[in-house]
């Protein structure tokens, strides 16, 4: 199995609900807590597994806002695991999930240097590295209904911009979405082979405006303008 997420950049509205749901679930999850520093002060900061950034693509008038959620990509070539000297970082062979064993981490930051996607953040209070667990404490929980055995971010997304599944299964929803919508990986040249894929915004046919029937008053105005010009 190769578990991971697909993020649909076409439908993501940038509401940050996934990040909030993630924080809420995981702050009492397996690598809890996700410490906040100075949360009500002038300079609030803290540990998050999922961050959403916002970009403008293209130039006016052909521009577009794209909201960009990012969390751990659970890479096939996870250098973060290779470089970890303590063995705290590991990649599960059964499903490809990359985790940090909080009882082994010494907080050296080295793995965060090796991650291109900014997926790892040091928790200054526990002194250990924190990162997305793909909600490992939800997806295998047999106590909850099957449709809820998904990461918190996927369940919460109001725009259905997030999908969770197995990329090794060619017929899974995520594999199909990547195949049909041209899903891609970020920074492929670094060869980390991230599991998470991104679906590009759909190309919509422009709504035609020239061929619309014009109102009589608009026609009259145009005619008057032309006459007055002469």
């Amino acid at each position: 199995m190769r578990l991971g997420l697909v993020i649909d950049l076409d439908t993501c509205v940038g509401c940050h609900a996934c990040a909030v749901a993630c924080k809420e679930w995981n702050t009492s999850g397996t690598t809890a807590p996700l410490t906040d520093y100075n949360p009500y002060g002038a300079e609030p900061s803290g540990v998050w597994f999922n961050r959403i950034r916002h970009y403008e693509i293209g130039e006016y008038p052909y521009n577009k806002t794209v909201n960009f959620p990012m969390s751990c990509m659970h890479c096939e070539n996870a250098e973060c695991v290779t470089v970890c000297p303590t063995g705290a970082s590991y990649k599960r062979s059964e499903d490809g999930i990359v985790l940090v064993d909080q009882s082994k981490c010494m907080g050296c930051n080295y793995c965060s240097w090796a991650c291109p996607y900014g997926a790892r953040e040091l928790d200054r209070v526990s002194g250990t590295m924190k990162k997305c667990t793909l909600c490992i404490d939800r997806i295998y929980d047999m106590e909850i209904p099957e449709e809820e055995r998904q990461p918190a971010c996927v369940l919460t997304c109001p725009a259905h911009a997030r999908m969770f599944g197995d990329f090794d299964d060619q017929e899974s929803a995520v594999s199909r979405a990547v195949r049909e919508r041209g899903g891609y990986q970020l920074m492929p040249e670094l060869n980390y082979d991230p599991s998470n894929h991104y679906l590009p915004p759909r190309v919509h046919a422009p709504i035609p405006v020239d061929s619309l029937r014009k109102k009589a008053t608009a026609k009259l105005k145009e005619w008057v303008n032309r006459v007055v010009e002469r």
């Binding site: 916002h54 250098e79 981490c105 900014g118 040249e189 670094l190």
Partner: protein, 312 residues
């Protein structure tokens, strides 16, 4: 990258210490300039151990959870950081054994002593390589991801070690024409290699904001980082040095690490002045300190692309 002093001190001081031990072994092995006398050997090995220990201790100050530091020796099969720890720890018994040997036998060039010294020196050199590889393996930072990094660590560890050795020899009443000459040659090597390195990283390459986001055919501009204040990512990776300031610091680095040591070492040899050699040693280590600071501040991690940089 955030230039954490603890990490800068690790490679700065332990590099000099390992370089010093390697040169003590070489000089005594080959009887260069008649070899070192027992007192000079003792002081040199002690200084080497002191420098390595300062480096090692300061690196643990960088850990957020030092209780688990002992685990850092376990993953030597994959991690250069673990390898560095293992080899650095192996260095101690041999260096200390040589120290004890010289203390009790007064025969620094006896075969058994030389075997210990050579092993310690060799392990020191391997540790310098591991330290360079800690940085050079990171594909995320193009300023580090080059073979020039371990090469430069070698040049600088050996240059500072040679300067220390010349100082010790002169302070303890020996002639150090050859050792000072060796130090000067190594310092010139540092100047050249560091020049090549700066030329190398000056050329843009690697990922851009386009490959980072996947929008390869249009302009990409950050609208909002999505956080109110700084995050771990901006604090750890966000550092940047304006061009003029970088140039200024590089000039300072070259003056401290190259120009002053070369001049003072020449004076030291001319006047057999240990004081001049001391100035050279202090200057070279401060210059390399500035170099190590620049090494961190100039390193631009690709995560900055997601925070709006067009390229790193």
């Amino acid at each position: 990258m955030h230039p954490a002093l603890a990490v800068i001190f690790l490679t700065l001081f332990s590099g000099g210490g390992f370089g010093l031990m390697a040169l003590v072994a070489t000089v005594n092995d080959l009887q260069i300039d008649g070899g070192l006398n027992p007192l000079q050997t003792l002081v040199a090995v002690l200084l080497s151990l002191l420098l390595v220990t300062i480096g090692m201790l300061s690196s643990t100050a960088h850990l957020a959870n030092p209780r688990n530091a002992w685990r850092a020796f376990t993953r030597w099969r994959t991690s250069w950081l673990a390898r560095e720890g293992v080899v650095a720890v192996l260095f101690y018994p041999f260096a200390i054994a040589y120290l004890v040997w010289v203390h009790f036998t007064d025969a620094p060039t006896a075969p058994a002593g030389l075997a210990l010294a050579s092993l310690a020196g060799g392990l020191g050199l391997v540790t310098i390589f591991c330290q360079g590889m800690i940085y050079a393996t990171l594909r995320t930072i193009r300023q580090w991801n080059t073979a020039l990094v371990p090469v430069n660590f070698y040049a600088m560890g050996l240059a500072s070690g040679a300067t220390f050795l010349a100082l010790i020899r002169m302070a303890l009443g020996g002639k150090a024409t050859f050792l000072a000459g060796l130090a000067m040659a190594l310092i010139i090597a540092v100047a050249v290699l560091k020049g090549i390195y700066y030329f190398w990283i000056g050329r843009p390459s690697g990922p851009t904001i386009h490959t980072a986001t996947g929008f390869n055919r249009s302009r990409v501009r950050l609208l909002d980082q999505g956080h109110t204040f700084g995050t771990f990512l901006t604090q750890e990776f966000g550092h940047r040095l304006p061009r003029e300031q970088a140039l200024g610091m590089k000039t300072v680095m070259y003056v401290l690490a190259v120009v002053i040591p070369l001049a003072t070492l020449a004076v030291a040899v001319e006047d057999t002045s240990a004081l001049a050699a001391l100035v050279a040693a202090v200057s070279v280590i401060s210059g390399i300190g500035v170099e190590r600071w620049l090494f961190f501040v100039e390193a631009q991690h690709v995560v900055n692309l997601y925070h709006g940089r067009q390229r790193c």
